[in-house]
């Protein structure tokens, strides 16, 4: 199962290496990872998507990450009400005669054109990963020349609708 983990860390050199090294040592598979500064100076936040087999594994992952000295906080936010965003840049073969047609696909996804050549157009799409997957599938028949995705970054929503299951240590 896929889990969304956010890790708040002290922004020191090597901290990304520490976290990914730990995941490698403990045999976790990272699907995506994003890192960036937060509102607090000297503090960064990482968002991971990891693929794990069961609850026990994810509990172990959270505990091992929490043990790192440079890690301030670890949250498994998968079961919470969250906002998740990813950005993709997609270079599509779009000769002038097809451009209007392609744009009609892009519009509902609220994508934007950020670069244009004679026969290719680069689109930017922002949304949750499923939305981006869907867009890619629709645009693929036209010919994707190049594709890059940032990986997911996520936030817990202010108002929580569903309660989150607690880790076994608290039960």
């Amino acid at each position: 199962m896929k889990r969304v983990i956010t890790v708040t860390v002290i922004n020191q050199s090597g901290v990304l290496n520490r976290v990914t090294g730990l995941l490698m040592k403990r045999q976790f598979n990272i699907e995506s990872i994003t890192v960036g500064h937060t509102e607090q100076q000297g503090v960064s936040k990482m968002t991971f998507i990891v693929n794990v087999e069961d609850e026990a594994k994810i509990e172990q992952l959270v505990k091992q990450l929490s043990k790192q000295i440079d890690v301030i906080k670890v949250n498994d936010i998968t079961d919470k009400s969250i906002v998740m965003r990813e950005l993709a840049l997609i270079k599509v073969v779009a000769p002038p005669n097809l451009r209007a047609e392609i744009n009609s696909i892009v519009d509902p996804f609220r994508g934007s054109i950020i670069d244009m050549g004679k026969n290719v157009v680069t689109y930017q799409i922002v949304g949750n990963p499923e939305k981006i997957d869907a867009f890619i599938e629709l645009i693929r028949p036209y010919g994707i020349k190049e594709l890059t995705r940032t990986g997911v970054t996520a936030f817990v929503r202010d108002a929580q609708l569903k309660p989150s299951p607690q880790l076994s240590i608290l039960q």
Partner: protein
């Protein structure tokens, strides 16, 4: 200082101002030494080299005792031995590149066995870091997965804080090794303040939980009071927390039987009637059957290592598990746990002792365990052929030292025999490499243990193979007049490897027999150390007695029966109830 005094002559300054001036002109290396003194460091084990010359120059003018090992691995194992018996943080220093990489085994060993170490490594100057400079190795990268934390000092102003944090991290919570990498130009740089003492620890991500949750303690108590077949499994966490007294009081109060892990030995008197012995792969039959049959298993400070549990699917099948550990990540890692308690072992035991509760009638349970002990005691074959059985050699050492010596072992068969046949009277008298199983650990660790316990008998029980991995440290015994007694249980083979080959590989002794050995007595003699060789069981007692009673370092090359096995045994992949070799014949 001299250079400044004439300047001050014209305008006489107060003492304080002069003092301030001196402090202000300190180098990183001087700050390093001052920080060590602030931490109360009495002894450092190390080996100098190019990148640490400034640090060694600062040590030269300083009372902190430095012990020059003959190999960096010897230095770090000595620091581990020192840390294990003293409870203090062991300090190691080595140069960059090969000096630092030679420490990797010891750092990993300390990590696995939760020993507090602060390891200082030299590094090439920050201006050339990353250019593959002479003797450069990315030791921070290399040691990242094998340390509790590590640092590279990039600015001399950070040095006092980093050293303070390193000692704090190493010695609190679940203890472990911390590496501090100091580039040469940082050691030479001028520290432009006098605020070494004012340096404050800033670790927002590190707050170990020491006090147990009251509700969890209540739950544990209710489970224990319902248990008909309760059992305590006690690991090194109890020793790290210095909680042997509380443990003994707790089990005596409720008459709970106790088993130990390898590293937990000594946490309760080895001859205590409630003590069933070591559990696990080479544990006693009774200890393993106790785990197999208990209905409540209270684990204090053990991490359910695979050598203890055997096949996890068959581990303690009837037990509800209460796990007390200072490291939350150990709870539920290997064995599903009913009641997790994150706490320091001493705090948890004190909390348990505060509660007074009724327990079930445990008579039947004790009777069963007693029957197991009567029926399946530890045993070994002794066909009376005049050769020395290694188990008998350990028993003799035990008798001659009254169970009170500090015992240090290497890794292998002799280690298991010592664990089985040397019941410890006291805590903090047992040093061995458990988690990593590092051959070559024993002898240098004994040197460190002797530095920590200068007035006690320190005995290194080692194998002939492991001893040869680090025997260069013999020089230290003479140099520092360390009366370590080395007993080589010499079976001319890599005993444990050979045992597995005999048992699981149809006696194909691939590279495990060692036909050529040095003359250990002559070797000792060449270092100015008294050596004995003993081959006959009839001569053993007298030689052992003379060796142990001596005030000098002694080496005894004890030729033991070669093809002996450590029994009993849980074969790999098997459960604890499926032991082999439980009875003679």
């Amino acid at each position: 200082m001299n250079a400044q005094v004439p300047l001050k002559k014209q305008q006489p300054a107060t003492d304080q101002e002069v003092d301030h001036e001196c402090k202000a002109s300190k180098t990183g290396a001087e700050i390093f030494v001052e920080s060590l003194q602030n931490q109360g460091v009495e002894i450092i084990f190390g080996y100098p080299g190019g990148a640490v010359l400034p640090l060694y120059d600062a040590l030269y003018r300083n009372p902190v005792k430095h012990i020059l090992a003959r190999h960096e691995q010897g230095a770090i194992h000595a620091a581990e031995g020192y840390a294990r018996v003293s409870g203090k943080t062991g300090v190691v220093i080595a140069t960059s590149g090969p000096g630092a990489t030679n420490l990797v085994t010891g750092i990993t060993d300390a990590m696995m066995d939760s020993l507090p170490l602060v390891v200082f490594t030299g590094q090439v100057a920050t201006t050339v870091v990353g250019t593959d400079a002479f003797q450069e190795a990315d030791i921070v990268g290399i040691t990242q997965p094998i340390t509790k934390h590590n640092y590279q000092v990039k600015n001399v102003q950070d040095l006092p804080r980093i050293i303070k944090e390193a000692f704090h991290i190493a010695s609190t919570g679940r203890k472990g090794p911390v590496v501090v990498d100091i580039p040469k130009n940082i050691a030479n740089a001028i520290f432009d303040s006098n605020a070494v003492e004012e340096a404050t620890i800033n670790l927002p991500g590190y707050q170990p939980t020491l006090h147990p949750n009251y509700l969890q303690i209540k739950k544990a108590v209710s489970l224990l009071s319902e248990a008909k077949q309760p059992l305590l499994l006690v690991g090194a966490g109890v020793l790290a927390a210095d909680a042997s007294k509380e443990l003994t009081e707790f089990v005596e109060k409720y008459n709970f039987p106790v088993v130990n892990t390898l590293l937990g030995l000594g946490s309760i008197d080895g001859n205590h009637e409630l003590f069933l012995g070591m559990a696990g792969m080479h544990g006693t039959f009774t200890a393993n059957m106790a785990i197999n049959n208990c209905d409540v298993l209270l684990n204090i400070g053990s991490r359910f290592d695979d050598r203890l549990t055997g096949n996890l699917k068959k581990f303690a099948p009837n037990a509800k598990v209460i796990h007390i550990d200072i490291d939350p990540a150990e709870i539920g890692k290997n064995v599903p746990t009913e009641i997790p308690i994150v706490a320091d072992a001493k705090e948890a035991l004190l909390a348990l002792l505060e509660q007074t509760f009724e327990v079930q009638d445990l008579t039947l349970w004790h009777e069963y365990l007693h029957e197991c002990q009567e029926e399946y005691p530890l045993w070994y074959d002794d066909d009376g052929d005049g050769t020395i059985y290694p188990q008998y050699a350990v028993e003799t050492i035990h008798r001659l030292t009254n169970g009170e010596a500090t015992i240090v072992t290497d890794v292998g068969q002799h280690q298991m025999w010592t664990a089985q046949y040397y019941p410890f009277k006291k805590d903090h008298h047992w040093v061995t490499s458990g988690g990593l199983g590092t051959m070559g650990f024993g002898f240098p660790a004994a040197i460190g243990a002797q530095f920590a316990h200068p007035d006690e008998k320190v005995i290194a029980i080692v194998g002939d193979a492991g001893f040869q991995m680090t025997m260069q440290e013999l020089a230290l015994l003479k140099e520092f007049k360390l009366p370590v007694k080395i007993f080589i249980l010499n079976n001319s083979c890599l005993g444990m490897v050979r045992q597995w080959q005999e048992t699981f590989y149809e006696e194909r002794y691939s590279s495990s027999l060692v036909p050529v050995q040095p003359d250990f007595v002559k070797l000792a003699d060449s270092y100015g150390i008294k050596g004995y060789k003993v081959e006959k069981v009839d001569d053993m007692e007298a030689v052992f007695k003379e060796a142990i009673e001596s005030d000098e370092p002694v080496l005894v090359d004890c030729r033991v029966k070669e093809l002996t096995l450590v029994n009993p045994m849980v074969a790999p992949g098997k459960g604890l109830s499926e032991m082999i070799g439980v009875k003679k014949g």
